[in-house]
Symmetry: C3
Subunit: 438 residues, 3 copies
């Protein structure tokens, strides 16, 4: 029974609404690279999959970095001269510069403006800004509001703390038949931004959930980590596991309506690159493939030269290249259940190949075997249309010389992997081919 059949047997329900509902629950929380927002998020995830939560103490040395002080925030606001709150963290956690130092003082307009961030091109939207490494304070607001500010004295307060604590991340491991691992990594450090990356988190959770309910060949490791410092921390503390990673994907931006865009691993020719491109070809009409570049999400770390892992990145919209990137327009209206559903299904089709790809040898390699006498061929010859399934049989027989996997045959023939896999099972049943690898 192939991967898809086993999946559908235990759960054939549509997942779009479930994924969206999980995002809704996580959306209001103010996350950052450390702190209680991350813990609260992981706690919600724990209700679906039993993740292990790791707490790595502040100041721990991790590769070239160190774990920062933990940041938590209670409140933040700007009051005008009349004492009215004109900016309130409670309305949107994007209003505060993420990782801001605490502050409470009166400032004039000029000083205030030095600490304000806006988006003049999108005057209604509040930007998302961070300052993890420099001790800064600041507020983000819409450009429309910014333009209305009067020259008066403002009272500002950011009730935040940087304290010794820890960096928190979640990990979920599914033990497969073999020790080789598939890594799925998503970042969990962004506050109220729906596509970036609650979409990636929630799709990962439901993939993890369904995989945990069947027996898989590969082992699967899901990471829910703060971007950059989180992957650096995990890599630093898990040197023993890194070599086991045979395939990896960084997941993000999976809920919007853009076409899929796959960013290749550093080598550009990893098995995961071939798999995802072949799946996309059969799964959607149009998609993009990006060469690796050393910028973006945590693939930057996994693909640093000392690791050079076979990790690609799967998204819809491209990092940094859509108007709603890193601002208040990346909200629950920006993502759609059917798009989340489609992302989920694409991932299953990718995992299908990872799980079910094999290399066979044709046991009757001289000439074509007679398919007719084995009940594998059409009865009336001479018709000019040949069924795709019959082509799948012929392609597998012709290419199974030990050099070509079923994935390779899917790529060469243009026939989707699932049909190739089904045809291979039938050929194996009648003992025309025999598996030699994987």
């Amino acid at each position: 029974m192939n991967f898809f059949e086993r999946i559908r047997l235990i759960d054939s329900s549509k997942k779009g609404e479930d994924i969206f509902n999980l995002i809704e629950q996580m959306y209001p929380i103010c996350r950052s690279i450390t702190g209680n927002g991350v813990r609260e998020t992981l706690s919600i995830i724990s209700k679906i999959i039993p993740i292990i939560i790791h707490e790595i103490p502040s100041k721990t040395k991790v590769l070239d970095w160190e774990v920062p002080l933990e940041w938590n925030i209670q409140d933040a606001w700007i009051k005008n001269a009349k004492g009215e709150k004109i900016v309130d963290f409670k309305n949107s956690n994007l209003h505060v510069l993420n990782y801001s130092i605490p502050i409470h003082k009166k400032v004039n307009l000029q000083e205030l403006k030095e600490h304000l961030f806006t988006l003049p091109d999108y005057p209604e939207w509040i930007p998302y800004r961070t300052s993890y490494h420099d001790k800064e304070w600041g507020f983000c607001m819409s450009y429309n509001q910014f333009k209305e500010l009067n020259d008066e004295i403002y009272e500002i307060k950011i009730d935040s703390k940087h304290e010794k604590g820890s960096l928190t991340y979640g990990e979920f491991f599914i033990k497969g038949q073999i020790k080789d691992e598939v890594l799925i990594s998503t970042h969990i450090c962004h506050p109220s931004l729906a596509n970036d990356n609650l979409s990636g988190i929630a799709v990962s959770v439901f993939i993890a959930d369904i995989l945990s309910k069947i027996k898989t060949k590969f082992s699967y490791r899901f990471l829910f980590i703060p971007a950059t410092i989180g992957s650096i921390t995990w890599l630093s503390l898990n040197e023993d596991k890194i070599k086991k990673i045979k395939y990896g994907l960084v997941l993000n931006l999976l809920g919007d309506s853009a076409k899929f865009n796959y960013k290749k691993s550093r080598s550009g020719y990893s098995a995961i690159d071939k798999i995802v491109q072949n799946c996309l070809k059969h799964f959607v009409e149009d998609y993009g493939v990006l060469d690796f570049s050393p910028y973006g999400y945590d693939e930057r770390q996994y693909c640093s030269p000392g690791y050079n892992l076979p990790v690609g990145r799967l998204s819809r919209s491209i990092y940094g290249e859509f108007p709603e990137y890193h601002n208040s327009a990346d909200n629950l209206d920006f993502i759609k259940p059917d798009k989340l559903e489609e992302s989920f299904e694409l991932l299953l089709s990718i995992i299908h190949v990872i799980e079910d790809n094999k290399t066979f040898i044709n046991l009757i390699s001289k000439g074509e075997p007679q398919l007719g006498k084995r009940g594998l061929y059409r009865k009336i010859g001479g018709e000019s249309d040949v069924k795709e399934y019959q082509m799948a049989l012929l392609w597998i027989l012709n290419q199974s010389d030990g050099e070509n996997s079923l994935l390779d045959i899917s790529v060469k023939s243009g026939i989707n992997f699932n049909l190739i896999k089904t045809a291979a099972e039938e050929l194996e049943n009648v003992e025309l081919i025999k598996a030699i690898k994987n």
Copy 2:
């Protein structure tokens, strides 16, 4: 003297009409994968080239297959309730399902229709259908006739026999200076279809005829075989000869007016692939090149993984992709003497490369040799036009480092092989280059 010069010396006549006339003779015969139709066809061919005719007994095991019972047919018809023959095998041998079991009974319209084959998209044409492996009976007719059938009782008769006998094929071998072989294979199992594949048969015959009249470097083996079971039979019985095959072509569909289409060998990078593509580039304005796929004619068998022979397929129209494919419209009007002539000439240009390709080394490789003092260069310098012949001289000298054959030089320079060959002969005469391979 190069191949073309030797060919033209013994026979410089146009062959288009001769080839067409041979097709005309073979056209009326009802052929199948076995039986007297094949024998009759080979007998006609024997009048031009002295082929050896092989008879392989029914039930002989050949690779994964066995030679079928021999099929012969005397007559077949459908009579209506009035006793009128509305379908008569004597009018067109396409009317009967090829390899039909014998039958003689009365049937009502409903039962009859289950055994009728038509082409609704081309209502005037009679399809060609076969049932080699299942015991079926059936008739083919035009869709127009089919629509007019009344709900009455029909008498049907197919006077055929399946008996122990043999599979018949023809072979013609030309011994060359070396034992390496060129394989030319055509199928001879189709009844009255002109392009598929009387065109391939007749062009092969005239190529074989002309090659047999000169001394060739390579040995040439021409096979006239029933499709699939014929190539499987030959491969099964000739293991010792298979390793000698250095180049091969399956020839078919060479008489219609479509552009040439070459289907590459399984590897896609065989010498024959390079040769045919280079010849086509210089021979015609427009042509197609198809990647290998495990469907089509006997290249399926030659390119099965246990043999993986360097065999491509040369056609005009593409297998299964033209309206006249496998129906009564593939008749003598569908093929033209000038197209057959052109196919013949293209094949000669391909064989020219096979015969005459060599690799040289430049004996004065440091700097250009002075062509002027050897009478090989234009007298007045400074003109901006350089003759193609002079370019051929320079290309050969520059590329003859032992790595590049004359074919490679033709490909790189864009100068046709014949001119490169002529220039190489002149350079060899003045001892500027020396052959090192082939």
Copy 3:
């Protein structure tokens, strides 16, 4: 300090006018492959760079050739029946067939015409023609003048001499820190033609001049030689130096207004090919790249198979493919100071890569180093625009695994070499990378 900074420190002036002025000085001289015109030209060059002048005796054997007798010309003319000079060498040295034998006689129109060369397509222009290897005499004139010739007796005189003498060429060598050499070769044998190749000569001279004023890593060898016989002579007499040539360029046609066209070296994948193409990509909007062919200028000799040197050809207009090629329209109006200037600057950017390319290893290769704490990163995160400089830092860190040079990183990233080089210097300063090659 990188190459450009060192160059600009000693001389940051614009060179377009200087180069043009040098061409103006050399323009009137009647050059050929030997003789006093070459000596006079080299003497003018000597005023700028201290070239060594070599005199190779006539009849010296050089590879497959021999040095020809030296040719010098005093005067040449055609007088009509009235004794009027209708063609006068003193007006244009193109009027005489270059390397003409001496002659003084009376001829009728018919005989004269057999020795006249014109350009019917450009009836106002005088062609440039040569006859180095055959003992001919002849005149070149405009087609308009040719059409007006009357059927009368003409007196013709060519006061030239072929005598034992020598072949003259100039060589300028700059000793670098290493013995590996860069070869810059230009031909000096054309009479009054400005673009072909006074432009190449003059640009070379100013490149040589400026390189001689700084310390270079590579050694540089500039050749000012007659075409074909000059490069053959140099190659023949300098076998010991040939192996040291790591990069080479034949320079010509650098003063006209066409886009740049680079002709690749014989292999097509030499380091010089990669360098020039990458420089052109960043230097100009549009440019051409030509595959190697064994025709053109002295790259024919450097790229003959016995040497196969990594020598490309840099030009604007393409050899033989512009109307002004080899005729009187290739004059001082055809070339422009700003185009010469641009050619000069492009060459500096090419030499910049040759001089400054290195391969580094990332010393903190597991994960990204923390650029922020080293002052190399922007302060406020979350902005969607990433500066190109920061991308340069990330690309270098990601690709510096010992396999990729800075040039490779420039090619992959699409960031110009100079910015990559600058970023690498900063990364080297903070000890994040270490040079391992070059």
